[in-house]
């Protein structure tokens, strides 16, 4: 009967723990930022709140996932339950797509409209009278405020690190698919091999991304406060990088579970969810590579 029933978990401490972790994290982060923007230095109460929140959150989420895994092993999850998870993950990824869409939207808007207007072209070109020295070009090396708010000296060359990173991520999408195939025929060694390869590719990507940021900050003058080019560049690539990091971590956890002998060829939604996420992160990168780096 177990497989054809819908499991409704008993009351649980996990959600409230998560809420408390989240509010501490949020209130702490807010306090920290206000503290440093007001010129405060060193540690203050908000830092403590923040780290307590992070600890709570980590502990609770660890237990939550552990619980889900135990329940899954206990055979409590039916096929219908599995479908609930699939819908859940699918729509979650859609929400992530929309989050990135907001930043891509900002980039397009600035390039298509705001920039040219400030430079004197288009419907609101009269705005140029406020910035008589400004000439619009993308990448925006000179900002409208010119000397007060200097733009970047140079930008990242797409054909070096970014190209390499593209290759890395695309191949990692391929390796994770190989791992999936191997899982379907239950070839555990090959699953481990391909999954490990995926995680390593992800990690190398993040490593190069960090190198790129260091170069941007130290040599190119390309920073968060170098005007709208830097703003969009770092927000888009930064959120993407954070997603790669999380994705690689999730895959790493899955890898450990595989090594521990979890998952069957029929039931391995945990694996699939991680793989979906990874493909999504990969798709975002393709968008970034074209619209942020090349064009």
């Amino acid at each position: 009967m177990a497989t054809s029933s819908y499991y409704v978990p008993e009351s649980s401490r996990l959600p409230i723990g998560t809420s408390i972790g989240l509010i501490c994290l949020a209130a702490g982060a807010g306090g920290m930022m206000n503290h440093s923007s007001a010129g405060g230095e060193g540690w203050a109460l908000p830092h403590l709140v923040f780290f307590v929140g992070a600890l709570i959150l980590a502990a609770v989420l660890y237990n939550w996932f552990a619980k889900v895994i135990t329940e899954s092993h206990a055979g409590l999850y039916s096929a219908q339950m599995d479908r609930s998870f699939r819908w859940g993950m699918g729509w979650f990824i859609f929400s992530e797509v929309m989050f990135f869409a907001a930043f891509f939207g900002a980039l397009f808007y600035v390039r298509q409209w705001a920039g040219p207007w400030l430079g004197g072209e288009g419907d609101k070109g009269v705005s140029h009278m406020l910035w008589p020295d400004f000439v619009y070009s993308w990448p925006m090396f000179n900002n409208p405020a010119g000397a007060d708010l200097p733009g970047p000296n140079a930008i990242i060359d797409p054909w070096h690190i970014p190209l390499l990173n593209t290759v890395l991520l695309i191949s990692s999408s391929v390796t994770v698919t190989f791992a999936h195939h191997a899982l379907r025929i239950m070839d555990r060694t090959r699953v481990i091999f391909w999954l490990a390869a995926t995680v390593i590719l992800g990690a190398v990507f993040v490593y190069y991304q960090i190198l790129e940021y260091i170069e941007a900050y130290q040599d190119l003058g390309l920073t968060l406060d170098s005007g709208i080019y830097g703003s969009t560049f770092f927000m888009l690539t930064g959120f993407h990088g954070a997603h790669v990091t999380i994705g690689a971590f999730i895959l790493f956890v899955i890898l450990i579970r595989i090594i521990k002998g979890h998952f069957t060829p029929e039931q391995h939604f945990g694996f699939e969810a991680a793989a979906w996420y990874w493909h999504f992160v990969d798709m975002v990168w393709i968008g970034l590579f074209f619209f942020v780096y090349i064009l």
């Binding site: 207007w117 400030l118 609101k124 009269v126 705005s127 406020l130 910035w131 409208p144 007060d148």
Partner: protein, 376 residues
């Protein structure tokens, strides 16, 4: 019952809208305004209004008829019908047609409003927290326009005047019979410049310029009042717009007067002023220009607006104090007052701040010091 009272009510409302004079007195309806554009907008407004009223009468009519006739207490038996493709198509198609009908005049009016070409006069309008600056491009005339209603009126200590909250110290002046283009921007946050009688409203966006225009017909000389229409901080409600439309001859005379007055002011700044004179004048300037942020008694407000009482700047180096007031603090609400106040006013307000509320520095700052600071 319901429908009869409803009818009476709606006839009252209709009467209010129809008889223009009643509407104007009561301030019930949109003003027709004085320009061609404002008239077209008013007509458009009334057109949609009546369309909505009639659709409403129809829909609610059927509804109240059913409520009245098809109630269980009257023994109504429910029918079973619950579908009709014909009806669905019909009540998709008819509203579509009505909407198209509305869209046509709306489009032509909008196109007209957007055509700012061929203007003969350009005035640059800049919104500040919480005042307007008018810069007559190509003329040497540029000034600020502040709320003139006193705090005592606002805080109910004095009777409110006829134009309560809608009066300024210096009005914008434009000629009639001429297309005037406004170039609108802002120095800090977003404001919106609005004069209902012109049907001109647009947002003032910091860093960008919006265009709009007005052509007040000859014979419609007069004073037109409006307000800032975009939330812009504490004193958003105290940021009126007042425009005086005058004949073209009067306009030219006014321009000449402004230029002459400016020269006289500059000459006066070179004269001598006593400490007391400066303190009196300074108190006035402070109350009208600075108190909004720094408080009536220099106590500041919240964490954003610093107190000037006992402040390091007001008690410290004079040059630093002058510098803050002249040039503002970029990236904060503290704006540059160099262009807003003349040398005497600036000297007065700085003197005042250095001696009021127990800030007993004893300093006297003269207009000449301001002129020197300006020239640095």
């Amino acid at each position: 019952m319901i429908s009869r009272t409803g009818l009476r009510l709606s006839s009252v409302i209709t009467a209010m809208f129809v008889s223009q004079s009643a509407a104007a007195e009561w301030g019930l309806n949109m003003p027709q305004g004085v320009t061609e554009v404002s008239q077209s907008i008013y007509d458009l407004h009334m057109l949609i209004f009546w369309i909505c009223v009639w659709i409403g009468v129809l829909v609610f009519g059927v509804m109240f008829y059913s409520i009245y006739k098809h109630r269980k207490s009257k023994g109504a038996e429910p029918s079973k019908f619950h579908e009709s493709l014909t009806l669905e198509l019909l009540w998709t198609a008819i509203p579509t047609l009505i909407l198209i009908l509305m869209a046509i005049p709306a489009t032509s009016t909008l196109v007209k409003m957007y055509d700012a070409s061929d203007a003969q006069i350009d005035i640059k309008i800049t919104g500040y927290q919480w005042k307007w600056e008018y810069d007559y491009l190509g003329e040497d005339v540029r000034f600020f326009s502040n709320l003139a209603t006193s705090k005592d009126e606002i805080y109910n200590k004095q009777e409110k005047g006829e134009n309560y909250l809608l009066e300024v110290d210096r009005e914008m002046v434009i000629p009639t019979g001429v297309k005037v283009r406004f170039l609108l921007t802002a120095a800090d946050v977003i404001h919106a410049w609005w004069v209902p009688e012109f049907a001109v409203k647009k947002d003032a966006i910091p860093g960008y310029v919006n265009e709009m225009w007005v052509n007040v017909p000859v014979g419609k000389e007069g004073i037109y009042r409006g307000q800032c229409a975009e939330l812009c901080g504490v004193d958003h409600g105290f940021m009126p717009v007042v425009v005086r439309a005058v004949s073209q001859d009067d306009y030219r005379a006014w321009l000449a007067e402004q230029v002459a007055a400016k020269a006289a002011e500059a000459a006066a700044a070179l004269g001598d002023f006593s400490h007391e004179e400066l303190m009196t004048k300074g108190a006035e300037v402070y109350a009208s220009r600075c108190a909004a942020c720094h408080g009536q008694n220099g106590e500041g407000m919240g964490t954003v607006f610093p107190a000037l009482k006992d402040s390091a700047v007001a008690l410290g180096d004079v040059q630093k104090h002058i510098d803050v007031v002249l040039n503002g603090t970029p990236g904060t609400a503290m704006q540059a007052f160099a262009a807003q106040l003349n040398d005497v006013e600036l000297a007065a307000v700085v003197t005042f701040e250095r001696n009021a509320w127990g800030n007993d520095t004893g300093d006297t700052v003269t207009p000449k010091q301001i002129i020197d600071a300006r020239n640095q």
